[in-house]
């Protein structure tokens, strides 16, 4: 279990330090830091702090007994959400450091999670497109929205204008594309999070097939665009038609995911 916060929240707490019974601890000061880090796995574990806040908890001295330090970070700006991807991790930590001379500092970290909610977008156009292979297959598909929240439902339909190939089935995939790095060092990782069969058998001309895909069962995150110039996470709907010889015909469309601020 980890604590969950969102941007602009006050992060308030206390740090309790209790030396091992009967021993005194000499130190050069105690501080607590709030760090927002992006860790790129391929970069040999280097990470970048995009947020770093410090509170001094104690001046140098000695500790003889259990001592409690309250702390507070007020209205902390945490623009990015925690994310744990294939090649990248974005995390928030609270780091307590007891500085010491001659011996190594005592460091203790505590992760917490940040999620940021957004209100429903004011503009949310449908996705509508006609695609096809000349003289083989022409379809028109429509997704009612281009932006979905995480518990949303994708509603839409596929209209068959021309079918000259022997279709076996049709599915809708939700794909996540995580790209990290920049320039020549860009790493792209694509995962298929959902495979949802839309049609069994072959539709004929004039047929329209409904789409209704509930997103809640899948572990999705909001779309992240160019987070601190380090990474992006994008979502796509991939419509796949499979023919009897298992050839796949597909069309991919980006959708934007967001975390809905639920009006309570």
């Amino acid at each position: 279990m980890v604590a969950l916060f969102q941007s602009q929240e006050n992060i308030v707490g206390e740090v309790v330090i209790e030396p091992i019974h009967g021993k005194k601890v000499e130190h050069n000061g105690v501080k607590i830091e709030l760090l927002g880090q992006i860790e790129l796995y391929f970069d040999r574990g280097n990470f970048y702090d995009f947020t770093s806040l410090v509170r001094e908890l104690d001046i140098p001295g000695e500790l003889y007994e259990r001592k409690t330090y309250p702390f507070e970070f007020s209205t902390v700006e945490m623009p990015y959400e925690s994310y744990n991807g294939v090649n990248v991790r974005l995390r928030y930590i609270l780091k307590v450091t007891i500085s010491r001379n001659f011996v190594s500092n005592i460091v203790e970290c505590q992760d917490f999670v940040v999620r940021n909610y957004t209100p429903p977008p004011s503009i949310n156009n449908s996705i509508k497109m006609e695609v096809g292979i000349e003289d083989c297959l022409h379809i028109e598909f429509e997704y009612s929205k281009s932006k979905y929240h995480l518990k949303d439902v994708i509603i839409g339909k596929i209209y068959f204008l021309l079918v000259r190939i022997k279709l076996k089935n049709m599915e809708l995939e939700i794909r996540r594309r995580e790209s990290t790095g920049s320039g020549p060092n860009t790493y792209v990782e694509t995962e298929t999070l959902a495979k949802f069969e839309l049609m069994d058998g072959a539709a004929v001309r004039g047929e329209s097939i409904p789409i209704r895909l509930f997103l809640s069962p899948y572990e999705l995150t909001p779309t992240y665009r160019n987070i601190n110039n380090k990474f992006s996470v994008k979502y796509y709907l991939n419509l796949v038609l499979v023919d009897e010889e298992d050839r796949r015909y597909f069309k991919q469309q980006e959708i934007t995911m967001y975390r809905l601020l639920e009006a309570s």
Binding site: N169, A194, K195, F196, E197, L198, M199, D200, G201, A202, A203, V204, E207, S208, I209, P210, R212, F214, S216, P217
Partner: protein, 789 residues
């Protein structure tokens, strides 16, 4: 290569095993109320239905297994206390399944619970379900899925009066749902046809037809919806269903569904929507068996017409006949390749309908026949035996209905239809007509009708062109001709003038019949004419002044011609009999010269044509018998004729025949009645002559065989003696009788006598009679006293 059927068995077994396996885990999950597991295993179980390897028949087996399990699942879903999830959430939850087929089965199952819970209007849920099912486009999968949908929704339609009734449009929603499911199912069903290569087409067609009831079930459901009244049916249901039927352009589906409509909806609806229903027929594929469909419809309507008296006006009001007739015309026009049998069958059905519904409208009947003639005239030659059968049915129907050929004779197109039959069938039909007349004792009473009738049965009356005479079956021919002979007696009118016309018409036709037919038809014609003669005789005196066309004279001329025709056969025996009949009629009409003429003809025949001794014997007895009854002749004519007759008698070949003929001649001289000739002298002469011949016969037998024959002849002559003795002939005395008896006794006791029980008994009873007369007393007793036995 593996055997296809074996493979299929294997796949089915695998599918069943898969269902059982997952059902086992599903049951466990059900028992422990573990919703997540339930959904997982039920979806896996239903995945078995995704197979494409099974034929419809085997797939059905698999489906039924899954179906049973789904019912358990539904029970579980219904009990919220077990899984703790509201039905609304459940409805979403099952849609998370990744594969569409299991997803939709589960959705339908929850949907059923959802409607029952009444948390959402039935129409919303149904609409959603029927819409979502579009995702399954695989024909067999889709058909069974939608059939499942139909099954679970049957008792949950928002019908009027149902507990799921919704707002004002509730009925529309219910109908719309079923119609949509029907349309989609039919599309899937039709699509099956277009799959796979041609060589397996036949098998596919068979498999397809196994599935038809899944589609038809929807129509049945529609007919069961309470709220579907005539108006809804007319405005919505029928047009929509027909639209689908016409548009699907598939002959199997079109035939089946048209039939389905006719069967499942009430007759009253059909009647009121006849135009729409029939309007669809010409639009169907040319290969559709419309004739059966329409026949069914007409059958139903005509049964309906007879179900109650209230119905008939309704039928008249909607002009059912005109509509049906019109539709049939259009169908035949549209289906150029329809074989003759199809078209004719349609006309038979229409005719049946007409006869049952409009028995009084002969014009309709004639109209149907006329339409049929038109169709037939486009066919060069009717050879299809089934088509011929139908034509016979077409022609027989009015006869059966009206029990009266006269009605049929007024139908101008009736003979035209018959013209299209081959000779053999024409005969069969002619027999049907004749039998109808005979059975119903129908009298044909005008010469015009007779003319038409003979035109109809001409196959029996004369040899047809091209008919193969050799192939005639003798028995059949006899039957046919006997029927014609019988028929002639049914042609009758009390009015002599018309009757003469009838006779002339019959004569005209029968004379053309040729030597084989004349012996059968001529006697009937003769007797028919003789009846008229006698009738005229009875009426004579009533007719005054005006020229009477029907005179006995004319008829006698006609008769002579008719009988003379027999000479071509030749059949002198028959002609002789007929001449005698004519003579007798002439006698009754008191025309001596005519009677004499007929006798002359008979004698000429006897002398010139009848050579066979047996035939002579028969003929001479007929002549004697007839002549005896004649009282028209003057002495001179009579003498001539009796002289001839006795002469012929004595010249017969066998002595016994001579003897019998001669003693029979005795009657020619003794006729009972006041004016009767009573010439005892010549009677006695005849008898004595007979006795002489008998003696001679006896002696000849003695010489030839060494034994005399039985005394039968003597006993016969004895009887004649007794007869004339009783009648009071002076010449036949008691002594003569006594003498004869003694003669007989002597004969019997002679050594050469052959004992014969029959003649012994004959003698004994003759003697007993004499004894009896003696005992009786009175005048007769006294008379017989003189005979001593």
């Amino acid at each position: 290569m593996l055997n296809g059927a074996e493979d299929e068995e294997k796949w089915l077994a695998e599918g069943i095993a898969g269902i059982q396996h997952n059902a086992f885990y599903m049951h466990r999950a059900l028992d422990s109320s573990n919703l997540k597991e339930v959904l997982k295993y039920s979806a896996q179980m239903l995945s078995e239905l995704r197979t494409s390897k099974l034929s419809p028949h085997k797939y059905y087996e698999l489906y039924m297994r899954a179906f049973d399990e789904l019912r358990k699942l539904e029970m579980f879903f219904k009990d919220e206390s077990k899984h703790g999830v509201s039905v609304v959430d459940l409805y979403e939850l099952v849609q998370h399944a990744g594969n569409i087929l299991p997803r939709l089965y589960l959705l339908c199952t929850v949907g059923s619970v959802y409607i029952k819970s009444k948390e959402a209007p039935a129409k919303e849920v149904l609409k959603d379900l029927v819409e979502m099912c579009r995702g399954v486009q695989h024909p067999i999968h889709g058909l069974f899925l939608r059939s499942y949908l139909a099954q679970i929704s049957r008792d949950k339609l928002p019908d009027i009066g149902s507990e799921y009734e919704g707002d004002a449009d509730t009925l529309k929603d219910a109908v719309e749902f079923v119609l949509q499911n029907f349309t989609e199912m039919n599309k899937l069903w039709v699509r099956m046809q277009h799959q796979g290569p041609g060589r397996v087409r036949e098998k596919q067609e068979k498999e397809r037809s196994e599935l038809r009831d899944l589609v038809g079930k929807n129509l049945h459901v529609l007919s069961q919806i309470e709220g579907v009244d005539l108006e809804i049916y007319k405005e919505t249901v029928l047009p929509r269903v027909l639209e689908q039927i016409v548009n699907c352009k598939d002959d199997l589906a079109q035939y089946y569904l048209m039939d389905c409509i006719i069967q499942v909806f009430p007759d009253e609806y059909h009647l009121q929507t006849l135009e729409t229903l029939l309007g669809a027929c010409p639009q169907l594929q040319p290969t559709v068996d419309i004739k059966t469909v329409l026949s069914q419809l007409m059958d139903r309507l005509s049964n309906y017409a007879q179900s109650s008296a209230d119905v008939l006006p309704e039928i008249l009001q909607v002009e059912a006949f005109a509509k049906l007739s019109n539709a049939i015309g259009k169908v035949i026009e549209a289906q150029v390749d329809m074989p003759a049998v199809g078209a004719i069958t349609l006309y038979v059905s229409l005719l049946t309908f007409t006869l049952r519904v409009h028995p009084d409208r002969l014009d309709y009947v004639d109209q149907v026949l006329g339409a049929c003639v038109k169709k037939l005239s486009n066919i060069p030659k009717l050879e299809d035996s089934r088509a011929i059968k139908q034509v016979v049915a077409l022609l027989s129907a009015p006869l059966e209905k009206y029990n009266d050929i006269v009605t049929a004779l007024t139908l101008s197109n009736y003979p035209l239809v018959m013209d299209h039959l081959d000779n053999g069938t024409k005969k069969v039909m002619a027999m049907v007509i004749i039998q109808s007349i005979m059975k119903n004792n129908t009298r044909i009473s005008t010469s015009d009708k007779v003319e038409v009738l003979f035109e109809l049965i001409k196959g029996l009356i004369k040899d047809m062109d091209g008919a193969d005479v050799d192939e005639l079956d003798e028995e059949d021919f006899k039957d046919e001709q006997n029927s014609v002979a019988g028929l002639i007696h049914m042609l009758y009118n009390d009015e002599p003038e018309e009757m003469l016309k009838i006779i002339c018409t019959v004569k005209k036709h029968t004379m053309a019949g040729g030597p084989k037919r004349l012996p059968f038809t001529v006697p009937s014609l003769v007797f028919s004419a003789l009846r008229l003669v006698r009738q005229l005789q009875g009426q004579e005196g009533d007719i005054v002044g005006e020229e009477v066309p029907a005179t006995p004279k004319k008829i006698y001329q006609l008769l002579t011609q008719v009988i003379e025709a027999l000479s071509t056969v030749p059949s002198p025996e028959l002609a002789l009999r007929l001449y005698l009949q004519c003579a007798e009629a002439a006698n009754d009409c008191d025309v001596e010269h005519v009677a004499y003429e007929f006798f002359t003809q008979a004698f000429v025949l006897y002398e010139e044509e009848i050579a066979d001794s047996k035939a002579q014997v028969t003929a001479i007895h007929l002549i004697i018998g007839t002549l005896q009854r004649m009282n028209v002749f003057g002495v001179e004519n009579r003498d001539t004729l009796t002289h001839k007759a006795t002469g012929y008698s004595a010249r017969l070949l066998k002595k016994a025949d001579q003897c019998r003929a001669v003693y029979a001649c005795s009657h020619l001289f003794w006729v009972d009645g006041q004016d009767g000739i009573k010439d005892g002298e010549r009677v006695f002469l005849c008898l004595k002559r007979a006795l002489r011949i008998a003696n001679a016969a006896q002696q000849m037998a003695n010489v030839a065989r060494g034994s005399s024959g039985p005394v039968t002849l003597f006993v016969e002559i004895l009887n004649k003696y007794v007869y004339f003795f009783e009648k009071g002939s002076q010449q036949v005395t008691g002594a003569a009788i006594q003498g004869l008896i003694e003669l007989i006794n002597t004969e019997m006791q002679s050594d050469s006598a052959t004992p014969d029980t029959a003649s012994d008994a004959f003698l004994a009873s003759t003697l007993r009679y004499i004894e009896f007369q003696k005992q009786k007393g009175g005048l007769m007793g006294e008379k017989f006293e003189s005979i001593n036995l």
